[in-house]
């Protein structure tokens, strides 16, 4: 999952640094991701993992690092297991 997240961030996050070199807990906003770019990341994650982020997760902390995104995806996939 971690590598998939990195690829999506690389494609949509508009970071000013190489995603491959980012630590899992590195702040993506400090790395150049804007609020609007995080929307593109969110939508791409939804497409890729076949999930939908609920309103309660539409906040900065959910998308602030690769680890945070991974935690949110794990939570969502646990709530709605793929049949």
């Amino acid at each position: 999952m971690n590598e998939d997240i990195r690829q999506i961030i690389a494609a949509h996050g508009r970071l000013s640094v190489d995603v491959a070199g980012l630590a899992p807990d590195a702040d993506l906003y400090h790395a150049g991701m804007t609020s609007h770019a995080s929307v593109n990341v969110m939508l791409a994650l939804e497409d890729h993992f076949d999930i939908e982020f609920p309103d309660r997760m539409l906040k900065r902390s959910v998308f602030e690092s690769i680890s945070a995104i991974e935690r949110a995806l794990t939570e969502l996939r646990t709530e709605t297991p793929v049949s």
């Binding site: 609007h36 939508l43 309660r56 906040k59 902390s61």
Partner: protein, 138 residues
Amino acid sequence: MAMRVGIDLVSVDSVRESIREHGDRYLKRIYTEGELSDCHTPQGIVAERLAARFAAKEATLKVLRPVDEGIPWRTIEVVRQGAGWVEVELSGRAADLAAEGGLSDFALSISHEADYASAIVIAELDLRDQRSDPMMSS
């Protein structure tokens, strides 16, 4: 009288990417029907106008200052007035947050060029009406 201000800048190209890659799912997730109507022309949707509205939503969030709480984008709506200026209208949790924080009389200005759109939001802050203030809830 205290004021609070928020400002935001959005890349129009990022909005174009969203429209191209996510289409209606992006548009209907972020913008209200009224906003989408205001951004449509006979030539199609105008990404610059959408970018300005997204900037307005983010600038409003900077005024509301939610604490680790998700605020749906559609609860912050840019409403175009007849003469061409715009206002921001809050609903749902965004409106609740404004009331709890003693914020009122929101004023909005937006601007855009080909590459970037920006917005600035100013609201009046009544320090006596901050319902979430722990000093006021005892």
